[in-house]
């Protein structure tokens, strides 16, 4: 696998950036052909910073400031069908407003990247972080990558292009960070040299670009019942091929940068009896709690899901099959389902296991609600109690809720 040159290793930069600016920095290096966006808290800073790069002539991007998110995604669809490398940024109500065009993007197999600063959905109106927005679009045919911190946001944005544009995938990818916890928190991270990023993502070769007037092609034809199912089955091919490509791109990126990525990340899972499954920023807090608890003799571990779509059921089952009790933390309500979206996936993934662990679900952090370390510690202590007594108790509960 290709390694970075010595000169490139020397020109790595350690910089302090917010999560939003980490994504904007990746976008500067990627230099997409088109970015169409409409500002929405807490992702606004990505677009603001990128607009400055455009104004300063640091990128060649055609920046389209649209009148709404629906228009932003529509402009992205047009630009991608035209043959461009395309990106947008949004979250929350903005993502909800894009909804009908999200399915067009994935149905037309347009490889684009969308960064999301996760935020709650109305009502009540709330601008703070939770995963309700991307979870509401979890079955729109997009690949979902969740980032723990600014570094992962930067790394995922770069890798997302390689995943989306892979000829066997050709499916749009969203890169999510936790609103405010990651989008507005300043962290020190490594920024790779421009030429390394440029080489890694490579020249974009569009397939069937509409601007190739010598080879006309029609996008967006109608289907009657005699063809719709065949087209939806053919769309699934990208999703089925995605896990292998996500892992392969994560390995290649690791060889170049020293930071390797997979579908999931395990933390102290080798001998863990009690595990938490969680996505994004909270994984960082959980790691801290695990280190404390390990010193107290609690065999705690973490399984962080990076790729939520396609869901890595095999990896999740393999990792959790050795444990005795598992708590899945969902930063999203149940909406009347049997639990949060992550919980449903994890529990289903364990159904084939001969002796699956007990699995419970916690809803946490809605609308930016803090999750102090002691609450995470309480979860592990309850997991240990479940393993000891065999009594599971309440299946779905809330963390840090007044009641």
């Amino acid at each position: 696998m290709e390694k970075g040159t010595l000169e490139e290793k020397k020109s790595k930069r350690r910089v302090s950036l917010t999560g939003d600016d980490a994504i904007a920095e990746a976008m500067r290096q990627i230099n997409p052909h088109v970015v169409a966006a409409y500002p929405i808290t807490p992702s606004t800073q990505v677009v603001e910073s990128f607009a400055r790069f455009v104004a300063d002539g640091l990128v060649d991007t055609e920046f389209v400031a649209t009148e709404s998110e629906h228009s932003a995604m529509s402009a992205c669809v047009g630009a991608a069908a035209g043959g461009g490398r395309v990106m947008t940024v949004t979250g929350s109500q903005g993502l909800a407003y894009m909804f009908e065009v999200l399915g067009v993007t994935s149905g037309l197999r347009l490889p684009m990247v969308m960064a999301i600063a996760n935020r709650a959905l109305n009502s009540p109106l709330n601008i703070h972080g939770d995963h309700s927005d991307t979870m509401a679009m979890r079955d729109m045919g997009w690949i979902h990558l969740y980032s723990e911190n600014g570094q992962e946001a930067y790394d995922n944005t770069i890798q997302a292009f390689r995943i989306a544009e892979n000829p066997n995938v050709r499916t749009p990818v969203l890169v999510a960070i936790d609103g405010f916890q990651t989008s507005h928190m300043v962290e020190t991270l490594t920024v790779e040299p421009d030429n390394l990023v440029k080489r890694f993502i490579g020249e974009y070769i569009a397939s069937y670009p509409m601007l190739d007037i010598d080879n006309p092609v029609l996008y967006g034809a109608a289907d009657r019942p005699d063809y719709y199912m065949e087209h939806k089955r053919s769309q699934l091919v990208g999703m089925i091929n995605a896990p292998e490509v996500i892992q392969q791109v994560g390995q290649e990126y690791g060889a170049l940068t020293g930071r390797y990525y997979g579908l999931v990340e395990e933390y102290r899972m080798e001998d863990a009896e009690h595990a938490i499954v969680v996505m994004s920023a909270t994984a960082g807090s959980v790691k801290d709690v695990i280190d404390q608890l390990r010193e107290e003799g609690v065999t705690a571990g973490l399984l962080k899901v990076r790729a939520f779509r396609p869901f890595p059921a095999e990896e999740v089952a393999k990792s959790l099959s050795r444990t005795k009790s598992v708590a899945v933390l969902d930063r999203c309500g149940t909406g009347g389902a049997q639990g949060g979206p992550l919980f449903l996936e994890v529990r289903a993934a364990l159904y084939e296991e001969k002796s699956p662990p007990q699995v419970i679900n916690y809803i946490y952090g809605l609308g930016g609600r803090d999750l102090p370390l002691r609450h995470i510690k309480d979860v592990y202590l309850r997991l240990r109690e479940i393993a000891r007594t065999g009594e599971r108790g309440k299946l779905v509960d809330f963390l840090n809720l007044r009641e």
Binding site: L108, R109, S207, Y208, V217, Y219, G220, A221, Q235
Partner: protein, 99 residues
């Protein structure tokens, strides 16, 4: 009427794209309407008003003469029957049961 051959999902271009331009003629629209259009060549004067007005190019013409109906595409909308000037009409819609 020959039957349209339906493709398997593996045979379809990515993203539901249409790569061969002008392939709409391959789509069988003739079975959308259970009724049938018939042509009476004994009263037809070959004025071609039906050909001018047909929205689906389903009136078959050769050497400025009408020669028949393209049943594979004709949706039996009835416009040709409306515009046909002969008495009795040279084009007629017959119901599913009779057809």
């Amino acid at each position: 009427m020959k039957k349209e051959k339906l493709k398997k999902w593996q045979e379809l271009p990515i993203g539901g794209l249409i790569l061969d331009m002008g392939n709409s003629s391959e789509t069988q629209t003739g079975d959308w309407n259970p009724n049938r259009l018939v042509w009476h060549d004994d009263t037809c004067t070959h004025c071609l008003l039906c050909w001018i007005n047909c929205p689906d190019a389903s009136i078959k013409v050769k050497d400025s003469k009408m020669i028949g109906i393209d049943d594979y595409h004709c949706k039996v909308c009835g416009i040709c029957v409306e515009v046909c000037p002969t008495k009795p009409k040279s084009l007629e819609i017959i119901s599913e049961e009779v057809a």
